[in-house]
Amino acid sequence: MAKVIFTVGDDISTDIIYPGRYMATVLPEETPQFAFADNPDFNARLLSLKKNHQSVIVAGENFGCGSSREQAVSTLKGHEVIIVAKSIARIFLQNSVNLGLKIILAPDNEASEDDELEISQDRVLNTTTGKSFQVEPLPKSRREIIEAGGLISYTRARLLKDRSLQLSEIE
């Protein structure tokens, strides 16, 4: 069972998730401290999450719009929160897939703070309200990256494959 710890509306930009003034901090492991930094309340709640929590941020349309900064994803990934959004902006979505931030697309989803959710492959069940919402699956091309454990390992495997192909061509 996962718990909704925060709800936000439409068009939440990466400037809100990870303000530009912290962009000199680039290493993924150093970014979690600045998640939603302009909302000190929520930032503090994120920082106080216990290990193995199951916490969800529920968002409206176009979550993660704006800048391509990957810190906006690594900062949330660092807290191991789950994002359930009606829709997600393209670069943020791809960055989430690449870094392994768990994102769920549920176009009709409705939830309030403190609601409990049961999330499965194809639906989000809000056990507090009893309502259930369809999950839109990610395209196969993106699922492959997730299954490989993220883009770094996916690329590593591709690189090794590509290079050995080239070697065998030379031989």
């Binding site: 439409d10 068009d11 930009s13 400037d15 809100i16 303000p19 530009g20 003034r21 962009m23 000199a24 901090t25 680039v26 290493l27 302009d38 349309e61 176009n62 719009c65 704006g66 800048s67 391509s68 900064r69 990957e70 810190q71 994803v73 829709s87 902006a89 393209r90 670069i91 791809q94 960055n95 690449n98 870094l99 395209p139 196969k140 091309s141 993106r142 492959e144 990256i145 993220g150 883009l151 770094i152 996916y154 690329t155 590593r156 591709r158 690189l159 090794l160 590509d162 290079r163």
Partner: protein, 430 residues
């Protein structure tokens, strides 16, 4: 099969024919651009090679561009150290399309790429910056990616798992009224279709207004296409593209003019007549919160910013200087001008524009992103209001979540700096 321009470019770059939206391809990359976030790309790139017998070498150093612009000169020791790390990597990997903090060849990435002739029609360009959409102005398919994806491109030379995007065709007709231009058009379009109206799609720009527009104007509209969520904006290359590349970017070699097929399949067609358009303003805190200038004129402002990858080009500075020449900016107003590149700065100096700004009371800053993303060089105070020619007005964007940012064209910015409040340039300035 008849294809849109992006379908055609992707089909060539991935060696596949008959592409349609939703197909997954692996296009070869012609140019891969990063800025200071190259420090993160390097980190991820080295991780890819960890545990392999391979040497961490980029796939093709001549296709990588790195431009320092977001925080120049460095605002903190942390940034300076990141920049140093990138310089060392650039030297080790022999990356020569590197633009350090310099007065001659430095500037904002989305100006440096076009003016240096790095972008050609038909190219596939990726950049670790969302406004990489800009380069569609030269007929390239150019889109923003994250740092890890860039690391993957540096290793493989191709982008993995790219879905062919559906295309929206926007037909633009009519001549712009006086003091109305490309910025007003793109703000109007974003207001009309919303900040997510083009999500996961490409906008292909057509029509007489686009044909008559200079590359500088096309860069404005492609730059801001991402503010409607578009993967990219693109203008089919034409004589103006050739003129720009030959005369302004010094490109000598032959050009591959990829244009869309007649009868290509568009997801949506939008027609816009600009002949009656009034100056447009994006109000806080979303770029699609668009109003005509008469609805916001009189709004008090504290800081005016002219510059950025959207409107820091020579024609922008010329228009602003024309409005401001011989006048003084209002008391209580700070006006900051950021030429988009060192070359533009020099040209503006030669034309006397820098003098015009300074005499009026504006501060002319070094080329770079400036306060556009709220790190340094002009952050806002609590509750202050900025009027800016940049492209984003999100809460906190100029460094202060209690401040407000309005977006406009360079002429509106200049007229308003003189008046001290948001002002319609067509009404004249006293």
């Amino acid at each position: 099969m008849n294809m849109t321009i992006v379908e055609k470019i992707l089909s060539r770059a991935s060696g596949r024919s008959n592409l349609k939206p939703g197909d997954v391809v692996e296009p070869a990359i012609d140019l891969a651009m990063s800025h200071e976030n190259g420090a993160l790309v390097i980190n991820q790139f080295l991780q890819i090679f960890e545990g392999t017998p391979l040497d961490p070498k980029v796939w093709d150093a001549s296709k990588i561009a790195i431009i320092f612009d977001h925080r120049v000169p460095a605002e903190s020791s942390k940034t300076a150290s990141n920049q140093k790390k990138i310089r060392e990597f650039v030297n080790r990997q022999f990356i020569d399309k590197f633009h350090d903090i310099r007065g001659d060849v430095g500037g904002i990435c989305h100006q440096i790429l076009p003016e240096s002739g790095y972008v050609r029609p038909g190219c596939v360009v990726v950049g670790t910056d969302s406004h990489t959409t800009s380069h569609g102005a030269l007929g390239a398919f150019s889109f923003g990616i994250g740092a890890t994806e860039m690391a993957s491109v540096w290793a493989l030379g191709k982008a993995l798992n790219v879905e062919v995007p559906p295309t929206i065709k926007v037909n633009v007709t009519g001549a712009f009224p006086t003091f109305v231009g490309p910025k007003d058009f793109i703000l109007h379009l974003i207001g009309k279709i919303s900040a997510q109206g083009a999500n996961f799609r490409v906008i292909e720009y057509h029509g007489e207004t686009i044909r008559d527009m200079t590359t500088s104007g096309r860069l404005v509209i492609c730059n801001m296409s991402v503010e409607a969520g578009a993967t990219s904006g693109i203008v089919p290359p034409d004589e103006e593209t050739i003129r720009y590349l030959r005369e302004e970017a010094g490109v000598q070699d032959s050009l591959d003019m990829v244009v869309p097929d007649a009868g290509a399949n568009y997801d949506e067609v939008i027609n816009i007549d600009v002949s009656k358009l009034e100056p447009q303003i994006a109000c806080p805190h979303t770029v699609d919160n668009i109003k005509g200038i008469k609805d916001v004129s009189g709004t008090k402002i504290d800081q005016v910013v002219i510059g950025s990858c959207t409107n820091g080009r020579l024609d922008d500075l010329e228009m602003a200087a024309r409005v401001i020449r011989g006048k003084k900016i209002a008391r209580n107003i700070r006006m900051l001008v950021f030429p988009a590149s060192g070359r533009i700065y020099s040209q503006a100096l030669g034309k006397g524009l820098i003098g015009d700004f300074m005499t009026a009371g504006a501060v002319v800053m070094n080329p770079g992103c400036g306060p556009c993303l709220g790190i340094h060089e002009g952050a806002l105070g609590d509750g202050e209001v900025a009027l800016s020619t940049t492209n984003r007005n999100f809460k906190g964007r100029m460094g202060n979540p209690t401040a407000e940012v309005y977006l406009c064209s360079p002429v509106v910015a200049a007229a308003s700096a003189v008046a001290g409040v948001i002002t319609d340039p067509r009404k004249g300035v006293n």
